[in-house]
């Protein structure tokens, strides 16, 4: 497991199966820190149920859920989740991230899983601008970033994006 505290920003690219384990390990390691978790994979109910099953504390996590409303799931409003209609509403997503960064003094983390989903809903150049903008915000407010993505062969965007990160963990195909 990577030593998270040694880095300001980490990009992890793995196969789907490994990634599920990795993201839970990361949340477990950071469970006493404030986290904004951008969820692009599971519906909120299923995600939280899985995290709890793994014995994870979720008190310090603010979930930004971009999937539940898209699937038509009518998960009820909870105090630690904010539903964004679709993964292409990057403007709302960034407003939420900025506000979270501004609200918490000192160390805080952004965990985004899975970056590969963002690319399905947005053009490459837009995703790149979005990531760049998150980095600008994070650097201004002492926030740390972990972005997880599934492996895609010859992924040019991952290659371009990798330059932003202090640490890149890329599983060899």
């Amino acid at each position: 497991m990577i030593e998270l505290n040694n880095y300001e920003s980490i990009l992890i690219v793995e196969d789907v199966k490994s990634l599920r384990v990795t993201v839970n390990d990361i949340l477990k390691t950071l469970q006493d820190k404030p986290i904004i978790y951008i969820n692009l994979t599971n519906t909120y109910n299923s995600l939280v149920s899985n995290l709890k099953k793994d014995g994870l504390k979720i008190n310090n996590i603010l979930f930004i859920d971009c999937i539940t409303r898209l699937t038509g799931d009518s998960a009820s409003d909870q105090e630690n989740v904010l539903f964004i209609k679709e993964p292409n509403d990057l403007t709302s997503l960034e407003i939420a991230i900025s506000e979270f960064f501004e609200s918490i003094p000192g160390e805080k983390w952004l965990v985004l899983y899975a970056f590969s989903i963002l690319k399905i809903y947005n053009k490459e150049d837009i995703v790149l601008r979005f990531i760049q903008s998150i980095f600008e915000n994070a650097s201004a407010s002492n926030a740390k970033i972990v972005i997880l993505s599934t492996q895609i062969k010859n992924d040019s965007l991952i290659k371009k994006m990798a330059h932003f990160f202090e640490k890149v963990v890329m599983e060899m195909e």
Partner: protein, 306 residues
């Protein structure tokens, strides 16, 4: 089987942070936020004016985040085009500005060439702006104009009155539009130049001439004026003939860009004479309480078709 962990009390109040984000995204209490920002700005502007009595006077819109796009505000007495495609929020922008000024005791006049007074009041009610109370204060007037209210002269200056029957040389003395005698509003909304232009069908030159007279007329009154004009969603020109944007002191452009199954709202101050402003297209939302502008928030997607 689900294992329930024994969780300690929250170190961080995520519900409060969530509420703040929702407020930012326009789900709650926007009016309150808008007032706070604007009051700060007013104080700042007033202080600036006190420092330099010769300084220009500026006005604010009261729209959350929008006034932060300007160094001081909008110079008083400006003629401003509010341009945008269908559903981009032009009317909301203007009505929100009006309600802000009316509630501060300033005289505002909404001249509608399109929607009825009733419809406009319904829009205001939708956002909780209490139009009945504003009208009762006598500071707000909403009037629907008909094409026959337009005092039209051709660009040649002849007695080419479109709707007036008499061919009278006195017509040359007519103002382009009639206001109640002695009435001097501080703010005027003209909704819209597009509707006015449509009454000049096939007589573009006459419309240009009329538009120029209309701008001069409001300049003379001294009010700050917002001229609504409908454009394409991603416009390259911001008015019917292109001449209006040269006549205007300011151009505010509202965008509502389709991006696959969603739309992205944005706003831009394209031009504003007499003040510094941000030259950037920024994100905007229309919430249950009105318009919110995010002066630092860039817009992702949709704008690249320009």
């Amino acid at each position: 089987m689900t294992q329930e962990t024994s969780e300690p009390n929250n170190i961080f109040d995520m519900s409060k942070i969530k509420a703040n984000i929702e407020k930012k995204l326009g789900k709650n209490e926007v009016i309150e936020q808008s007032s706070q920002i604007s009051e700060q700005k007013i104080q700042h502007t007033t202080e600036n004016l006190k420092k330099d009595k010769k300084a220009k006077k500026y006005v604010l819109t009261g729209i959350s985040g929008f006034d932060e796009l300007f160094e001081n505000g909008i110079p008083t007495g400006s003629n401003i085009l509010v341009a945008g495609g269908a559903g981009s929020g032009k009317t909301i922008f203007c009505l929100q500005t009006l309600q802000y000024h009316v509630s501060r005791g300033e005289k505002c006049f909404y001249m509608s060439f399109e929607e009825s007074e009733k419809r406009l009041m319904e829009h205001m009610e939708d956002f909780g702006w209490n139009p009945e109370k504003l009208l009762a204060s006598d500071n707000l007037k909403i009037k629907r104009y008909l094409p026959s209210d337009i005092h039209y002269l051709s660009e040649k200056g002849s007695n080419d009155a479109m709707f007036a029957k008499e061919e009278d040389s006195q017509l040359l003395q007519l103002e382009p539009i009639t206001l109640e005698e002695g009435y001097k509003p501080d703010f005027v909304i003209i909704d819209s130049l597009t509707a006015i232009a449509s009454t000049f069908m096939g007589k573009e030159g006459s419309y240009r001439f009329y538009a120029e007279r209309l701008f001069r007329f409001f300049e003379k009154i001294g009010s700050t004026n917002y001229f609504i004009t409908e454009t394409r969603q991603m416009p390259e020109t911001f008015s019917q003939t292109g001449v209006e944007e040269f006549l205007a002191d300011g151009v505010i452009v509202l965008y509502n860009i389709k991006r696959e199954s969603t739309r992205q709202r944005a706003i831009e101050v394209l031009k504003m004479r007499g003040t510094k402003h941000k030259e950037k297209i920024v994100a905007m939302k229309i919430s249950d309480n009105g318009m919110i502008v995010y002066p630092k928030q860039e817009v992702f997607g949709g704008m690249e078709t320009k």
